[in-house]
Symmetry: C2
Subunit: 104 residues, 2 copies
């Protein structure tokens, strides 16, 4: 399933995972989506910020995928910031917001 | 912060975590929200379905909290079903949908 396109951009200690959907996504598509390996992408020592328009369950899937990383955050367009939702480091606290340039 | 109210309802192998927000939630509220302990609630052997209206980062926080459980799913009102987003059991597959009565 190539409905999900993504780009990873590193900005210092933060890695932005920006995705786009070409078409409406259905739950069963999650079985076919290949997300990038955090180790191969060298983002396990970074806070991964997820950004893009998609259903909450797609976010849940992506968030869990990046669980091996130092921290995971969700970009909120309303706030213009990313919110840390899980952290395995003292560098980031849940509920902390981080500024990131999402481009576009 | 008591802005988040929730109720856990068990339905066989599934536990529904239904939440409501009294007011607009801000990221820093995540530092104060006390989610129920999955072990004390006896839901670690269940698929926990999260349902409620709130920002994606709140979902991310709740999904990660229930990581010790057998599986975690997000209820999608558009589909009228819950979608498995992480699973630690062969009983559930990512992308699988499950029917659940969310009441209301």
């Amino acid at each position: 399933m190539e409905c999900l396109k993504y780009k990873i951009t590193k900005q210092g200690e933060v890695a932005l995972f920006n995705f786009e959907l070409d078409e409406a996504i259905e739950p069963e598509d999650l079985k076919k989506i290949k997300l990038p390996d955090p180790v191969a992408e060298k983002v396990t020592d970074k806070a991964v910020v997820i950004s893009g328009r998609g259903p909450i369950w797609l976010y849940g899937f992506i968030i869990h995928h990046f669980h091996p990383c130092m921290a995971v955050a969700v970009f909120d367009p309303r706030l213009g910031k990313a919110v840390i939702v899980e952290s395995h480091s003292k560098k980031y606290t849940i509920g902390e917001t981080i500024n990131i340039n999402i481009g576009g």
